[in-house]
Amino acid sequence: MDNDKVNRKGGMSRPRNLATLLSIIFPGLGQLYNRRILKAFLFFVIAISFLVATWDYIDIGIWGLFTLGTIPREHHSIQLLLQGLIALIVLVFGVSIYIFNIMDARKEAISRENGVPKQTLLKGVTSFYDRGFPYFMILPGLVMLIFIVVLPLLFMLTLAFTDYNQYNAPPRNLLNWVGFDNFTALMKVGIWKNTFLNVFTWTIVWTIVATTLQITLGLFLAILVNDKRVKFKRTIRTILILPWAVPAFVSILIFSALFNPTFGAINRDLLSQINVMIPWLSDPFWAKTALIMIQTWLGFPFVFALFTGVLQSVPADMYEAADVDGGSRWQKFRHITFPHLLYATAPLLIMQYAGNFNNFNIIYLFNEGDPAVRGQNAGGTDILISWVYKLTFETNNYNMAAAVTIIMGLLISVFAFFQFRKTAAFKEEGRY
C-alpha cells in the first residue's frame, strides 16, 4: 500500500507534515490530500471569498493605520484609523480560520497514518456540529461585543497617541502619531497638570468617601432592621428601598433643584430658619459636600437590601456559641456578622466602588461638574469621566480626552484585579 511506504519515511514526505504544509500553502489543499473532498472544497471557498471580499479593505486599512493618510482633504484620518482597527479585527478572524485549517489538516493526516477509518459524511457533519456548537452560541454576542464595546475602546486607545483636537481635525488636516506627547502634557503643561491633579484627587476622594458612606449606612440600617425587637420589618424595608426604586436621574434633578440657592427648599425653607445661606452650587467645597450626601441617599438602599438578604443566612448557632462564651455584641459583630457579610458580597461591593468612580450621571445632572474654577479647564466637581465628556463634546480635545480615558482604564483595571480575586466564580472553575 502507498500509505505504508509513505509512513516509514520521515521528514517532509510524512503525511502529517505534507498535509500541514499543503494547508499552509493554501487552505483546503491539505484536506484534499487527506481525501476529504467536501471539507477541502469548503475551506477553499471560504478562503477565496475571504480574500476577495476583504483584501482591499485590509490593505487600505493597515496602510491607513500606519500613515493616517497622506493627502489632506482627500484622506480622512479618523475614518482611516477606524478602518484600520476594523481591518485588524477582520484579519485576526481570518488568521484564526487559517490556523484552524492547518490544525485540522494535520490532525486528519495523523489519524490516517494511524489507520483510523475515515469518518462517514454524516458523522463528520455531526461532530462538526457538536464541537462547533458553543462557538455558534457566542458568535452573535461576540460580534456585537467586538463592534460596540471593544472596537470603540481600542479607538479611544489609539486616539490618545494622535494630535486630534478642535484645531487639528479631519478632513481639513491630517492627523499624526505623536507618541506619548499627550500624556506628557497631562503631567507637565501648566493648565493640564493643574486640572488633572485636581480632578484626579477629587475622583479618588469621591469614590472612596461616597461609596464607603453608602455602604456604612446600608450596613448599619440592615443590622438595625434585623434586630429581633424591631416590628413592622417589611414596611420599614420597603420605605428604605424607595431611593433605589426611583429612577436616579429623576432624584438627582430633584436634588439639584432642592439645593438651588435661589428657589431650592434647602436654603429657602430649612436653613433660612437659622439664618444660614450656603452656596451649594457655586462653591466647590459645598457642591462636593452636597454630591456626597446625595450619592449616599441614592446608593445606600442597594447595599441595605443586599446585606438584609445575606444577614438572614448567617448561621444562628454561631451566635449561640458566642453567647455561651460570653461574647459582647460588638465582638459578635466584629467576628461573626461582619466577615460573613463581607465574604458573601465582596464582588458586589467592589462594583459599587467602580460604579461611583464612573458615576457620570450624578456629577453631570447635579451641576454639570460646575462651579468653574480659575486656572483649570474642568469644573470644581468634575470627576475623570465627566471631564472626559466635557473634553470630548464641549471643547473637542479628543486626544486629551483619550489620554485621560486610558488613565481611567488603568485605574479601573485595579478594581477589576480585586474583583477577579474575590469572585467565587473563578474558585470553582474546575467544575465544568
Binding site: 454576542g141 479611544m156 472626559v388 480626552a401 474583583q419
Partner: protein, 282 residues
C-alpha cells in the same frame, strides 16, 4: 439588675425607631417636595409653595394635551426601545451564558475575564468611536442605533450574571437528558431556560428599565425631539430654563417614577436573590 436591663433595651429600641423616623424623613422629603411642586400652579419656581393654596393638575394636563408637548411620543419611544432591549438582551445573554456554563472551547477562560473587565468600562469611554460608527451605517438620531448600543453594552455584565446562575443548575440534569437523546438546543430550551427564569426575569427587568433611566447615551445619539426618550426629553425641559420649567418637569418625572418604583418594589425580592446568587455563588 434585671429591671435595669429591660429599661436599657427599651431605650435602645426607642432610639432605633427614632433613627428610622429620621431616615424616613430624609428619604421622603425630596420625593414629597417634588410631588408638591408638580401641583403648584404656574411655572415660576420663585413663587412655589410646599403646600400650594390652590393645588392643580394643570402640568399633567399640559403634558398630555398641549400640542407643544412631545411627552406621549417620548413615552412611546422609550417603551419601544425598552421592550426590544429587554427581549434582545435575554436572547443574546442566555445563549452566551449557556455556552460559557456548559461547554469547553478555546478562549473560554479568557472570555470570562474579559467580561469581568469590560463590564467596568462605561460606554461613555468609547463614545466618539460609537458615534462615528453609527454615522457610517446611518443610524445616528435613530432609536435602532440606540438599541444596538444598549444590546451590545449589556453583554459583559449580564452574561456573567446569567452564567453564574446557570452554574448553579445541576449538570446531572442535562447529562440525563443527553442520554435520553436530547440535542444541545433542546437541553437549552427545555432544561436551562425554564430553570433560569428568575435570573432571566432580572435581566429583562434591568434592560427594560435602562432606557427609561439613561439620559447620557440618548443625549449623544439622538438629536431631533421626536426621537427623544423620556429621560432625555425631561432633562431638556429643565436644561435651558431651569427655574421656569421645574414644575412641569416634576409632573413628567413623577409619571415615570411611579410605575417604575412600583414594579421595582414588587420584584425587589427576586432582584436581590438573583443578584446575590449570580454574583456570589457563581
Amino acid at each position: 439588675m434585671a429591671m435595669n436591663r429591660k429599661t436599657k433595651s427599651k431605650i435602645e429600641v426607642t432610639f432605633i425607631y427614632l433613627f428610622f423616623i429620621v431616615m424616613f424623613i430624609i428619604i421622603g422629603y425630596p420625593l414629597f417636595w417634588a410631588i408638591m411642586m408638580s401641583l403648584n400652579p404656574g411655572t415660576n419656581m420663585l413663587v412655589t409653595d410646599l403646600f400650594p393654596e390652590n393645588p392643580t393638575l394643570e402640568h399633567y394636563k399640559w403634558l398630555f394635551t398641549n400640542p407643544r408637548s412631545d411627552y406621549l411620543i417620548w413615552y412611546k419611544n422609550s417603551l419601544f426601545v425598552a421592550v426590544l432591549n429587554a427581549f434582545g438582551s435575554v436572547v443574546i445573554t442566555s445563549l452566551i451564558a449557556y455556552a460559557f456554563s456548559r461547554y469547553k472551547f478555546i478562549g473560554r477562560k479568557y472570555g470570562l475575564y474579559m467580561f469581568l473587565l469590560l463590564q467596568m468600562f462605561p460606554a461613555l469611554m468609547g463614545m466618539v468611536a460609537l458615534y462615528i460608527l453609527l454615522n457610517t451605517i446611518g443610524l445616528t438620531d435613530s432609536l435602532w442605533g440606540l438599541l444596538i448600543i444598549y444590546l451590545g453594552g449589556q453583554i459583559p455584565f449580564n452574561a456573567w450574571l446569567v452564567k453564574g446562575y446557570f452554574d448553579t443548575i445541576p449538570k446531572e440534569l442535562d447529562e440525563a437528558a443527553k442520554i435520553d437523546g436530547a440535542g444541545h438546543l433542546r437541553i437549552f430550551w427545555t432544561i436551562m431556560l425554564p430553570l433560569a427564569k428568575p435570573i432571566l426575569a432580572v435581566v429583562a427587568l434591568f434592560n427594560f428599565m435602562a432606557p427609561f433611566m439613561d439620559f447620557l447615551l440618548p443625549r449623544i445619539v439622538l438629536t431631533s425631539p421626536e426621537n427623544f426618550t423620556l429621560a432625555l426629553g425631561l432633562f431638556n425641559f429643565i436644561n435651558d430654563q431651569f427655574s421656569t420649567n421645574f414644575t412641569r418637569f416634576a409632573a413628567g418625572a413623577i409619571l415615570i417614577a411611579v410605575p417604575i418604583a412600583l414594579v421595582f418594589l414588587l420584584l425587589q425580592r427576586y432582584l436581590i436573590s438573583g443578584l446575590t446568587s449570580g454574583a456570589t455563588k457563581g
